[in-house]
């Protein structure tokens, strides 16, 4: 679904409000190969502080699931860059899996990541995604055994998301050796593109991962932190950060 190596950038929809998010997406679009758009959730238990706060800001601003679909629809008027929706399962389940996926597809989203939906629970979701031609992305962690990694690869039609560490999302100083070990293992086992995320926050991190063979690198908290700091006025510092991150793709 993307040109390699790809810079995949994440923001939370509606942070600090829906209108600003569209402006941010257009800014991200200049430097990113894929945009990952988070659907705000009241209980983001896989996320660290930065993205938790973004979720709170977005919900406080009154962001609804329907607003996120509208956002993608508006973005589509300006750009063809792939959009991946990242969500927890409850907003999907509550809306009805089929209705959610159909609306997401219709709005122009290309793929979905459901953080707390492991393969065991994903039967209906996988069928629906296939029916609507919605791309799927499953996560794999450093402790995911080889046979499971193979199943995750099979279930992921868009790409496989490799988690670089044990923990939640959030910027870290250094990349963990776990990231490189997992990437090496996944390159041997998987056939789909491999994107690495969690803790990636600098051009240097991007460079190291691309050198090690990552097809894509996901940066979230480092970007969301800037939005947290500057609010609606985040465009300039965002572009500066994105330029820096993008420089890591090429060496």
């Amino acid at each position: 679904m993307f040109r390699k190596p790809a810079l995949i950038t994440f923001i939370t929809a509606g942070d600090p409000n829906v209108k600003a998010t569209l402006d941010f997406m257009l800014a991200l679009d200049k430097y990113s190969d894929v945009i990952e758009l988070g659907i705000p959730f009241s209980d983001p238990m896989a996320d660290g502080k930065a993205i938790q706060k973004a979720n709170v800001r977005a919900l406080k601003a009154g962001t609804r699931v329907g607003d996120v679909f509208n956002l993608v629809r508006e973005f589509r008027e300006h750009s063809d860059t792939p959009v991946v929706l990242m969500t927890y399962y409850n907003p999907v389940y509550r809306r009805g899996v089929e209705r959610f996926v159909a609306e997401a597809k219709e709005s122009g989203a290309n793929a979905m990541i459901v953080v707390d939906l492991p393969l065991e629970e994903a039967g209906e979701y996988l069928n629906v995604c296939e029916k609507y031609d919605m791309g799927t992305v499953f996560l794999a962690a450093p402790n995911t055994p080889d046979d499971r990694l193979r199943m995750i690869d099979e279930a992921s039609s868009a790409f496989v998301y490799l988690i670089s560490l044990y923990g939640t999302t959030g910027a870290r100083e250094k990349l963990s050796q776990l990231a490189f070990d997992l990437l090496k293992r996944a390159k041997r086992i998987c056939s789909k593109p491999l994107a690495v995320g969690f803790g990636v926050s600098k051009a240097e991190h991007v460079r190291e991962l691309v050198k090690a063979g990552a097809d894509g690198v996901v940066v979230g908290s480092a970007i969301v932190d800037i939005i947290g700091k500057y609010g609606e006025d985040a465009i300039d510092p965002l572009e500066e950060k994105l330029k820096e991150l993008r420089s890591g793709l090429f060496f």
């Binding site: 709170v56 707390d116 044990y166």
Partner: protein, 392 residues
Amino acid sequence: MKFGEFGGQFVPEVLIPPLKELEKAYNELKDDEEFKSELDYYLRNYAGRPTPLYFAKNLTEKLGGAKIYLKREDLLHSGAHKINNTIGQALLAKKMGKTRLIAETGAGQHGVATAIAGALLGLKVDVYMGAEDVERQKMNVFRMKLLGAEVIPVHSGSKTLKDAINEALRDWVATFEYTHYLIGSVVGPHPYPTIVRDFQSVIGRETKRQILEIEGALPDVIVACVGGGSNAIGIFHPFIEDRSVRLIGVEAAGKGIETGKHSASLCAGEKGVLHGMLSYFLQDEDGQIATTHSIAAGLDYPGVGPEHAWLKESGRAEYVAVTDDQALKAFVELSKTEGILPALESAHALAYAMELAKEMSKDEVVVVNLSGRGDKDLGIVMEALTCSANQL
């Protein structure tokens, strides 16, 4: 393993291997004679099992209906049923080679029971507690610290129990190699609801033996309060096949279901997925989890254990809700008639049982699970009684 469609393992991928490890260890140990006798030893000699099944004669006579029996879990060490589970899981953690326990707590009862189990078995304990609850429950915070545990205030989200669970899960994804997450109720991803149920079922097994000894027959009704639902599952489970026994779970209606300020997820919630399980949750149309209210902190949770969701759906158990005010009245009533201060959680079960008993005949029997003692609630009760017309 699921309970009908409920339960499951809705967790980030990284938690799948530790959950599998836990399930395997538990399945190997649960029927192991040495493990069972060690657990039994601590439950008897340390926690104070078996607990009495007490015939509340004064209360029964005053109400003039069915005989009311109280299962006295309030007499356990630590003052509540929580310890049945914490000793069991702490022993399990130790056998798995874990050196640290983490737990979530609302009012602090499960945190205290975990701190006790950690002190007893030599495991480090970190307890996550919503910042608001830390403020409201200072004595229990101090108690946990005295018992050697660290209390980590959680400032995210609504700063209460559900956020403490989120934070404990965040800790666990980073530390599972040496840490056991000791969940305090029949909630969370599989196998937790099963493990906690099994450790709490000692309540129902004893009750069955005791009531057969005293009355020579099974009870007509068993009533227990339901937050996450561990004391209720504990007393219900051994009676599930005894179809003549009505099982009634009592949720917290808070200030009234119609006010939206309650935590009655089975009575007023919708199906959803949170904290690893498919169950009933209080939530909005977008699936955002609601903030809840109950005067009883132990019931103040927006979800409920998946086995309760199944018992409701299958019709085997009934679920009702009782307000803060009704629970307070029952608290005062039991204190005066029987000289027992019930926990505000247990007072919910009692309030419903008292209404029910009045309408029943004198030869019928109602058992109430008195899951904890009320000393921890004195501050709240004092404040509530001074503020209301509900005079002593």
